[in-house]
């Protein structure tokens, strides 16, 4: 394993040092491991807090700033943060209008955020939570852990963040966050596994002729393995999975997301196929992002997330945002 790190144990601390050095608009609490907007809290504004394991950068720290998150809590690599971080973050951003926890649906994240929400309530902070579970690769069932939260997290953070800036109350921001999640679906494909530093070798092995379909963002293998093929066909496999779950139509927002080790060149090729697929189905990608946004360390591959837009969602997507990884309108 070759990585640009000082030591496996120092990864998160050292990343935070870099984030603090790079972004004067952010404030990093190294002890509690929280990335804040420099000028948090904002009185009267609903605050958004998210968090999750490291290894998904720029998620979530790269989305802290005007129009998106108020704070982010990074856990260890691929490990949910702990309740202390979330409590500290919630206290640090609460401007009296309450805090929305944006939680990706993984047992670890859910349990830790649940504990944090309870303890926040004890301290008088109003907390609402939204669970992101957009990954159609996972069967949705009452008897399982349910669908994973992946690329739609970015949609939820951006759109709910924009609504929060308008001064909307917590219940409304939470409702909209929920709506964005419900309107979004994702599917991921890996060409190679990433290497978790603590494990020291790739999480799984793929031969030169195989790909994994339905992977998540934690280096876990997917649901099935198939033979490698043209980008067009791989894009179709992914889009079919999305379309089979909820037929695509109308205006959509698309995230063509790299898993960390795939160059932008290839992501654009796949995006071209995705756009063509949508058109074939009578849908349109009226807004999109192409790049590394919700990654899985150095995994090679991509995920595609599609959100069926409403006028309100489009307007809030277009609203100004100013974060390390997403910026427009200011």
């Amino acid at each position: 394993m070759k990585k640009l790190i000082n030591s496996v144990d120092a990864i998160v601390t050292d990343t935070l040092r870099g984030v603090a050095a790079a972004h004067p608009s952010l404030r990093v609490d190294f002890e509690n491991r929280v990335i804040y907007r420099r000028n948090a809290p904002h009185q009267g504004k609903v605050a958004l807090v998210s968090g999750g394991g490291a290894g998904h950068e720029p998620l979530h720290g790269g989305f802290v700033g005007y129009g998106m998150l108020d704070a982010a809590c990074p856990g260890e690599v691929f490990t949910s943060p702990v309740p202390d971080q979330m409590i500290e973050a919630s206290k640090g951003v609460d401007g009296g209008a309450g805090v929305l926890h944006i939680v990706k649906n993984y047992t670890g994240d859910v349990l830790n955020f649940e504990m944090a929400a309870e303890l926040c309530a004890d301290e008088g902070i109003e907390v609402a939570s939204v669970l992101v579970n957009d990954d159609v690769a996972v069967q949705d069932s009452l008897y399982t852990a349910g669908r994973r939260g992946t690329g739609a997290t970015l949609f939820v953070e951006k759109i709910a963040g924009a609504l929060a800036e308008t001064g909307a109350p917590l219940a409304e921001v939470a409702r909209l966050a929920q709506e964005v999640n419900e309107r979004s679906r994702s599917f991921g494909v890996a060409l190679s596994a990433g290497t978790v530093p603590a494990a020291g070798k790739p999480t799984f092995d793929l031969s030169d002729t195989e790909i994994e379909l339905g992977i998540g963002i934690h280096g876990e293998p997917g649901r099935t393995r198939t033979t490698h093929r043209e980008a067009r066909e791989i894009a179709r496999l992914a889009m079919d999975a999305v379309n089979d779950d909820v037929p695509l139509s109308g205006d959509t927002l698309v995230l063509l997301n790299g898993m960390g080790g795939t160059p932008l060149l290839e992501l654009y090729i796949v995006y071209g196929e995705v756009a063509a697929y949508l058109e074939e189905k009578g849908a349109r990608a009226v807004r999109c992002l192409v790049g590394n946004y919700v990654t899985s360390l150095d995994m090679q591959g991509f995920s595609v997330s599609v959100c069926r837009l409403t006028d309100e969602l489009t307007r809030l997507w277009d609203a100004p945002v100013e974060t390390a990884a997403l910026r427009w309108g200011r």
């Binding site: 349990l111 978790v196 999480t203 934690h218």
Partner: protein
């Protein structure tokens, strides 16, 4: 069993987790996200630190402090689950300076209940419950049958290990491994494996075999 017994358990557990760290992580790589060993090792190191910094005076306090440290430091699914297990045990023991085998059974039953309430997993879902539940059952039976502590804990450990082994053919319904669907079959659940380690540590805390 007094305070030092429970401190010894924690120490044994921390040592075992550290020794098996890579193995646990490799189990997690197969059907999870390759961090279970690192998670628990970090957690138990923190537990030892806390117990050294503010030495608890009762068995219950040892376990509550240990559980809180796990919740504060582990993250992931196993942090809140093991943290809750230790905290519930500790709360069940209350202020008592001495713990009888029957108390231990009660405490472990409370722990199991806490874990299942929090995580929603039943036996057969291919989680740490599959090692925890049979171990608690075996211990309860042995204690009821009048076995001495060492033997009872030996029985519990064997049941935990057997329970962990028995996760291999199961398809996961909870936790990260559930995402793999049928592909989760054929691998041992990492949390069940660490639960077996923790029961074996409890057995060792009771003295040499």
């Amino acid at each position: 069993m007094d305070t030092s017994f429970f401190l010894a358990w924690i120490k044994e557990a921390a040592t075992a987790v550290q020794a098996e760290r890579d193995h646990l992580t490799q189990l997690d790589a197969a059907i999870g996200d390759a961090d279970h060993g690192a998670n628990l090792d970090r957690g138990f190191a923190a537990v030892r630190q806390v117990l050294a910094d503010t030495p608890p005076q009762t068995p219950g306090a040892v376990l509550v402090q240990a559980g809180s440290a796990l919740i504060r430091k582990v993250g992931g699914a196993s942090g809140p689950l093991y943290g809750t297990a230790f905290r519930q045990m500790g709360r069940a023991l209350g202020e008592a300076p001495e713990v009888t085998p029957a108390d231990l059974v009660t405490a472990l039953e409370a722990a199991q209940e806490g874990v299942q309430k929090l995580g929603g997993a039943a036996e057969g879902d291919k989680t740490l419950v599959d090692a925890f539940a049979p171990a608690v059952r075996a211990l309860a039976q042995a204690v009821q049958d009048g076995a001495n502590l060492e033997d009872a804990l030996q029985t519990a450990t064997a049941a935990a290990e057997e329970g962990a082994r028995a996760t291999v053919p199961l398809q996961a319904r909870k936790g990260r491994a559930s995402y793999l669907g049928p592909r989760s079959v054929g691998h041992k659940d990492p949390g069940a494996a660490s639960t077996a380690l923790i029961f074996a540590a409890l057995r060792r805390a009771a003295g040499p075999a």
